[in-house]
Amino acid sequence: MVESSNNPRDKKLRATGYMLKPLWVTLRTMVRVSLPGHRPRTIMYPWEKSIIPDCFRGRPGIILDKCIACQKCVKVCPTTCIKMVQIEHETLGKVKRPEVNVGRCMMCGNCAEVCPTNAMIVTPEFELASYTRDDLIYDPIKLQHPWKAGYEINYEEQLPSNMKGPAAKKGSMELKDTVCLEAKKCISCSRCEKTCPTGAVKMTDTGEVNEKTKKPIKRPVFDDTKCVSCEMCVDVCPKDCLTMKEAQ
């Protein structure tokens, strides 16, 4: 069986009079919060807003002219609430930009974290209630939000092979995953060149000539400084000859 405690506190006689101490704590708290200079803990919410830090993760926002339509945010979203849609913009023309279903978004901030140009930001906007579900699908125009320092997510990372060295900033050359071409499989369709959002792929002549069609053979050449590791070329390749080589 269970033996009883030998803690001296427990041996103390606790008559009903001991109720007075909790009552004293409660009364003291009541007086304390009503004194001038001691604000109550609650706020009059709709009229008075709580102060939130700039890093607060509300709904995602976008800066349209920074976005390069690389679709990294689409791929990383755990709830798949981002979709690329075509918009007409007065300065940008016809472009694809992300549309976010805020009703499904769980405000994780992953999209802003992977965005290579910091076009996707986390805004401190959290009052998102609306009457219909359609209102919650924010098209790129509605998704825009004025930028302020602290809204974008930057981080510093270390490579496992370089644990002691200085940390590299997000998007720097060391951290980049690069594209590798398996040249034997390539059929020179130049789809990767057309898809690349940054123009990092250039089809270049190899100097060889195809024996059947008598046309010069072209192979893609990747410019790693421009590449943002979005894997769109890998996805579009019909012959699976592209792979990502991860920075180690």
Binding site: R14, Y18, G109, Y155
Partner: protein, 360 residues
């Protein structure tokens, strides 16, 4: 002499979350009990099989709303074990101290809940007020109050913001004062003592047999804590006491959690003293090599465990979660049988139910 089954839940003030307790009563005495869960089942483990490794981190947060960070940390730790990735020193310290902040916030949530369970609204309001300070710290650190998405595979999301250390130490100093106030509010209150002392007796060997872990088991006078007995992160380098209590009743479980909050404050202070500048995040590969790994940590509620099977692709083949509350609540009939119906909230409340991780 008739016995009958009574449903407590799924909509009952005693059930935190959606679950139901069927009790068989003979007059006022409980003769049998059967917890029923499944109202909140989301298929979490299956869902993880079509998410890639980096997407799972924010979803692991959703396992438990009251201590999200410990679950995303557990997930990251499991993947790191399989990758054999070395986490930078500073990231380990930051993880240790954020886990302790999360533990305090979670225990305060429990303290508030036990207040309403036992019918005292003041006992609800005061811990909730203190919990807000810790949630504010988490907001400053990670940008979110509860679902922090803070640990990353290979470190943590960002370094500590400026002045965060100062703020945390101030909060701790204030909190320790408030914790003494809580002790006056709970321990000196004869109504609270009458309701918790001597109910829900469960001896240590019984608790071990039922597979119970965490503060509930330590409240059954079993001296076991994964933070000390299988140290992870930096727990081996900090001094702390594993809190147990010999009474083995509901009051003992309450005492264990209060003592743990004092110990958590100590751990956080030690972390700040021993922490050095350095990197906080290592780049982790997308795909994880084929293999199996498991990690277990001392969640605020007990032993949380994740078992990961990888087939070498960028998505897990299987991710199994062992939730502490699932085991504790399954063993609860042992503590309930023989007690009175009115004592059920005082006994069940000490389990600190969180249905998010129980049902998954």
């Amino acid at each position: 002499m008739t016995e009958m089954w009574v449903n407590m839940g799924p909509q009952h003030p005693m059930t935190h979350g959606l679950w139901s307790l069927r009790v068989k009563i003979n007059g006022e005495i409980i003769t049998d009990a059967e917890p029923m869960i499944g109202y909140l089942h989301r298929g979490w483990e299956k869902m993880m099989e079509n998410r890639d490794y980096h997407q799972i981190v924010p979803l692991a947060d959703r396992l438990c709303y009251a201590s999200s960070l410990s679950w995303s940390h557990l997930y990251c730790k499991t993947v790191e074990d399989l990758l054999e990735l070395e986490v930078p020193e500073r990231a380990q310290w930051i993880r240790t101290l954020t886990l302790e902040i999360q533990r305090i916030a979670s225990h305060l949530m429990w303290l508030a809940a036990i207040g309403t369970d036992l019918g005292s609204y003041t006992m609800f309001l005061l811990p909730m007020r203190e919990r807000e300070m810790f949630l504010d710290l988490m907001t400053d650190l990670s940008g979110s109050r509860m679902t922090t998405n803070y640990p990353r595979i290979g470190g943590v999301r960002n370094d500590l913001p400026p002045n965060w250390e100062r703020d945390t130490l101030r909060v701790l100093n204030l909190f320790e004062k408030r914790l003494r106030e809580f002790e006056a509010l709970f321990d000196e209150c004869s109504a609270f003592l009458m309701r918790t002392k001597g109910v829900g007796k469960l001896s240590g060997p019984e608790a071990i047999n039922l597979g119970m872990t965490g503060p509930f088991m330590r409240g059954c006078n079993v001296d076991f804590d994964l933070r000390r007995d299988d140290p992870y992160e930096k727990y081996s380098e900090v001094d702390f006491r594993v809190c147990t209590h010999p009474d083995c009743d509901s009051y003992a479980r309450y005492r264990v959690r209060i003592d743990e909050m004092y110990e958590s404050c100590n751990i956080i202070r030690q972390c700040f003293q021993k922490m050095k500048q350095g990197p906080v995040r290592v780049k982790s590969p997308k795909a994880v090599p084929a293999g199996r790994a498991f990690a277990h940590v001392e969640d605020p509620r007990g032993e949380g465990l994740m078992y990961l099977i990888s087939d070498g692709s960028d998505k897990p083949y299987r991710l199994k979660v062992r939730s502490p509350i699932f085991v504790i609540v399954s063993g609860m009939p042992a503590a309930l049988i023989g007690e009175k119906v009115a004592d059920i909230p005082a006994i069940m409340g000490m389990a600190d139910m969180c249905l998010g991780e129980t049902d998954r």
